[in-house]
């Protein structure tokens, strides 16, 4: 049922009540009025039944409508104290809205102004002007103290309120109070029920959420547990796939777990491995140290690292590097120890092999008097092998610097050494020999060879070897000395064949000098000396002296034991030197000598004396080969010409004689040492000649003549670049 739309159907249309006093004056009227009054009262009393289940605003609206109609009011106003809301509910009904255009609040204010602030002191009724009308207003409290609110009824009638009207009003007010209280109660109940429902719903939803979270948590935990299990599986997998033997130990050092490899390697069970200290798992020689070291680590918490031999299932002990690390709780306590055993056996064996090979190397270097070094050019860091310290006679481990090396280098070699160092900074291969001057003034000869390389940092680094070649050097020097003495002996021997010729060459000018000197003496003995004659004689004396000394110096050159000295020379001069000494021998032996030397003979680089020796030897041989030749056919031809041999420009010199020659099968042996065809010959001349020519980078060989005799030839590389 809706009260908002209209007056309840049971209610009669309120009629205008006549005044009580009038009713008493007219009994019929009075009865009617009373009846009506009773009807009204009944209607009013019935109101709460109608209101049952309605809310307060419906109750108030119904009340207002009923009172306005029933009592023919012009205005009715209700204000309800709303304990829960700040603002009270105000409602008003007017009979003629057009005469009072005001909202309930404005009406409420107007009424308050008429009635005063305190409801306890309100008059029973008051006449006041509201809007443009004078209205009698009656305030009625709802509830004993007006705690629910109040009703104000207003009418333009002067007699308002009549006795019945007041009764009706108060009954209505009581009924309204009851209805409102019920409604309040009901609404309170509703509110509470609703609140309860809400709380239940809220609690239910909270519980649902909690449940959800719980579910999530459970799933989470399950996942975490799964992850832990997975992680454990992975850990196990990792442990089992590590290329090493892993064991974990409790903080006090008992074996906790081991990986598959360790089990397989040892061929023992975990339980057996827990007794490793007594089961010969670790090599007996290592065991005391191992136990000692593990105890130390466990006590101190320091990582463990030790090389140990561990027994394989087949009983063979292999070397392992055992590393133990403590795994700690967040608070720092050790949770367990993890020991990784890495098989070192191959490396150990390689190390031993390396040590052996290093020992061999050191021995080899000792024997060879050879040492190695490395040199970082940028930082001048130098590293030496042990033997190098021996060679330099420095204490092992001294820091090697260029200055330190320089302090040993022979003063005459220092500048060469510095040049080499500067050269080496450019990163080239280098090799040189230098000397050391030792503190005892002895001299060592070193041969150094080094190659540049780039190390891992890309820096230039030399690796090299140094050999003490002193002994070899001394031997070489001794050999050189012997060789040079032999060469010298051969030269003197060759020269011996020309003694007569040489004597003649010297005696000739000497005789001339004596003659001239004596001539001078006798010229001077005369009273008037012939000065012109004397001058001529003296001039010739000087000429003779020059001539003799020139020959003597040539001979001295050949006889002297001079060290080999290379100069650029022309073979034409060498030929002339030799022929000067030999020409009288040729004359004596009636040998005709012919020379055919090309004008454009290029120079060669060589030792003049040695080349003279070679030619001398060939010429004397040729001369002696013709001893038995008919005098008219004795001739010796020396030819010289430039040639290209093997794309190289050479000077070819040939000596041809017409003597006894040699057989073709002798050709190879001819140049060998100690081979001779001469009764008094040593057989050294040609061998030495050949070694001299070969030392000059040339070649010496023999050919047979077309007719009688032999041809000896030698070629020497032309000196310098091509010259036309």
């Amino acid at each position: 049922m809706s009260f908002a739309t209209g007056v309840p159907g049971r209610l009669r249309r309120p009629q205008r009540w006549p005044d009580m006093q009038v009713q008493f004056e007219h009994p019929a009227e009075e009865i009617k009025r009373l009846r009506r009054c009773i009807n009204d009262l009944v209607s009013v009393i019935a109101l709460p039944a109608m209101w049952s289940g309605s809310d307060r605003s419906q109750i108030v609206r119904t009340l207002l409508d009923v009172l306005l109609e029933m009592l023919h009011l012009d205005l009715v106003y209700v204000r309800l104290q709303e304990p829960t809301a700040e603002a009270p509910i105000e409602m008003a009904q007017v009979a003629q809205p057009q005469s009072l255009k005001a909202g309930p609040q404005q009406i409420g204010e107007l009424l308050h102004r008429c009635l005063g602030e305190d409801p306890q002191n309100w008059p029973a009724s008051v006449r006041n002007r509201i809007g443009d009308q004078d209205i009698s207003i009656v305030p009625l409290r709802l509830g004993l103290q007006g705690e629910i609110g109040f009703i104000v009824a207003g009418s333009q009638r002067l007699d308002f309120p009549g006795q019945t009207e007041r009764l009706l009003l108060s009954v209505a007010a009581n009924q309204a109070t009851i209805g409102l209280q019920e409604a309040r109660l009901l609404s309170e109940q509703k509110r509470i029920a609703k609140e309860l429902d809400q709380r239940v719903a809220q609690r239910t939803s909270e519980l649902a959420t909690a449940n959800e979270e719980l579910k999530k948590e459970v799933a989470e935990r399950r996942r975490a547990e799964e992850a832990v299990r997975e992680s454990e599986r992975n850990t196990r997998l990792i442990l089992d796939s590590i290329p090493g033997l892993v064991a974990t130990l409790t903080p006090v050092g008992d074996v906790e777990t081991v990986n598959k490899q360790l089990l397989e390697y040892c061929g023992r069970t975990l339980e057996e491995l827990k007794q490793w200290g007594t089961s010969a798992t670790v090599h007996p020689d290592d065991l005391p140290h191992v136990i000692d070291r593990i105890r130390q680590s466990i006590t101190s918490g320091d990582p463990y690292d030790f090389e140990t031999r561990i027994r394989r299932s087949d009983g063979i002990y292999r070397w392992f590097q055992v590393c133990g690390l403590p795994l700690r709780h967040p608070d720092g306590r050790i949770a367990r120890w993890c020991f990784l055993h890495t098989d070192l056996d191959e490396r150990k064996r390689a190390e031993q092999a390396l040590q052996r090979s290093e020992a061999f190397l050191a021995e080899g270097q000792h024997l060879a008097r050879m040492g190695n070094f490395s040199w970082r050019v940028a930082t001048d860091e130098i590293a030496w092998s042990e033997q190098l310290y021996h060679i330099f006679e420095f204490d092992q481990g001294m820091t090697v610097t260029l200055e330190l090396i320089g302090s040993r280098v022979h003063p005459e070699d220092i500048s060469m050494m510095n040049d080499m160092i500067n050269l080496a900074r450019g990163g080239v291969d280098f090799e040189f020999e230098h000397r050391l001057l030792m503190p005892d003034r002895s001299v060592k000869h070193l041969h150094l060879i080094a190659h540049p390389s780039r190390n891992a940092d890309g820096q230039l680094e030399y690796l090299g070897a140094v050999q003490d070649v002193t002994q070899r050097k001394l031997a070489e020097e001794a050999l050189d000395k012997v060789r040079s003495e032999l060469t010298h002996a051969a030269r003197v021997t060759s020269l011996g064949a020309l003694t007569a010729s040489i004597a003649h060459e010297v005696n000739q000018p000497l005789g001339s000098i004596i003659n001239n000197a004596n001539a001078c003496l006798s010229l001077l003995a005369h009273g008037t000396p012939q000065l012109n004659e004397i001058r001529e004689a003296l001039t010739e004396i000087i000429q003779g002296t020059d001539q003799a000394s020139a020959v003597i110096s040539r001979v001295r050159q050949l006889v002297r034991k001079a060290p080999s000295e290379r100069t650029v020379l022309n073979l034409r001069d060498v030929v002339a030197d030799v022929l000067v000494l030999a020409r009288h021998e040729f004359a004596a032996r009636q040998v005709t000598i012919l020379t055919e030397l090309a004008e454009d003979l290029p120079p060669v680089a060589g030792d003049r004396v040695q080349l003279q020796q070679v030619l001398l030897n060939l010429v004397v041989n040729g001369m002696e080969a013709m001893n038995a030749t008919e005098a008219s056919k004795r001739a010796l031809v020396i030819r010289g010409r430039p040639e290209i041999r093997d794309k190289e420009r050479v000077v070819l010199l040939t000596e041809q004689d017409f003597g006894i020659g040699f057989k073709h099968d002798e050709m190879d042996r001819l140049l060998e040492a100690f081979y001779t065809t001469k009764p008094q010959g040593m057989g050294m001349g040609l061998a030495i000649s050949r070694s001299i020519i070969e030392a000059h980078g040339g070649r010496l060989w023999a050919e047979t003549n077309q007719g009688p005799g032999a041809i000896f030839l030698f070629s020497l590389p032309a000196a310098g670049k091509t010259n036309s």
Binding site: H504, N507, L510, G511, I513, N516, N518, A537, A587
Partner: protein
């Protein structure tokens, strides 16, 4: 004959030595004629007066020894003084055997050479003298008849006239006759004189 000045011939291929030797000899007051080769010397005219030859042993072409041999063959008996830069014994012996008067090794003392030259000239002078005497004897000898030559040879051998007669199957008187002719033609003053002449003729027959 003594009017002809002695002359020293000098053959040496070494110019310096040749000139100094020439100067030495000249300043010693002797005539000297130098040659640089044996061939040149051979081409030159032979001297009339006493002379000697100073000769180098070793020379290109014709050597000193060759020249000595050639001169001997051609009958030019000039005294030769050999000089050499290097004297070896075999060469010097060969040279001396072939008639060299001296063999000097360079360098030698100037006096030694000059003494040798003077000795050689004297020797040549006397040789020339002897040679001219022999020539006169021969001319005289040429005037003898063959019979007189036969007689003279036997007489010079010391045979008596009778023995000579017996040898030649004739009479002693005939021999005496021949002898007188011989003594006259040969201008011999005595038998001893004649014998010496015969010896000279005999010894010079080889020259």
């Amino acid at each position: 004959m003594n009017a002809v000045e002695p002359i020293v011939f000098l053959v040496d291929d070494d110019q310096l030595f040749r000139r100094s030797t020439e100067r030495l000899i000249r300043t010693a007051g002797l005539n000297v004629q130098p040659f640089s080769s044996a061939r040149d010397f051979l081409k030159s005219p032979r001297p009339e007066g006493p002379a000697c030859l100073v000769l180098d042993v070793r020379m290109p072409g014709l050597s000193g020894m060759d020249l000595q041999r050639e001169l001997a063959q051609s009958g030019f008996h000039i005294p030769i003084i050999f000089i050499t830069g290097h004297g070896d014994i075999p060469t010097s012996v060969r040279a001396m055997k072939a008639g060299a008067v001296e063999f000097l090794t360079k360098p030698f003392r100037s006096r030694v050479l000059l003494d040798a030259i003077r000795a050689a000239i004297e020797r040549d002078r006397s040789a020339l003298q002897k040679q001219s005497e022999t020539r006169e004897l021969r001319e005289r000898y040429e005037q003898l008849t063959p019979r007189e030559r036969e007689v003279m040879t036997l007489v010079a051998k010391g045979l008596l006239n009778k023995q000579v007669a017996g040898e030649l199957s004739t009479t002693e008187a005939t021999i005496k006759f021949h002898r007188a002719h011989i003594m006259q033609k040969m201008r011999a003053n005595s038998l001893a004189d004649l014998i010496r002449m015969v010896e000279k003729l005999g010894s010079s027959r080889q020259r």
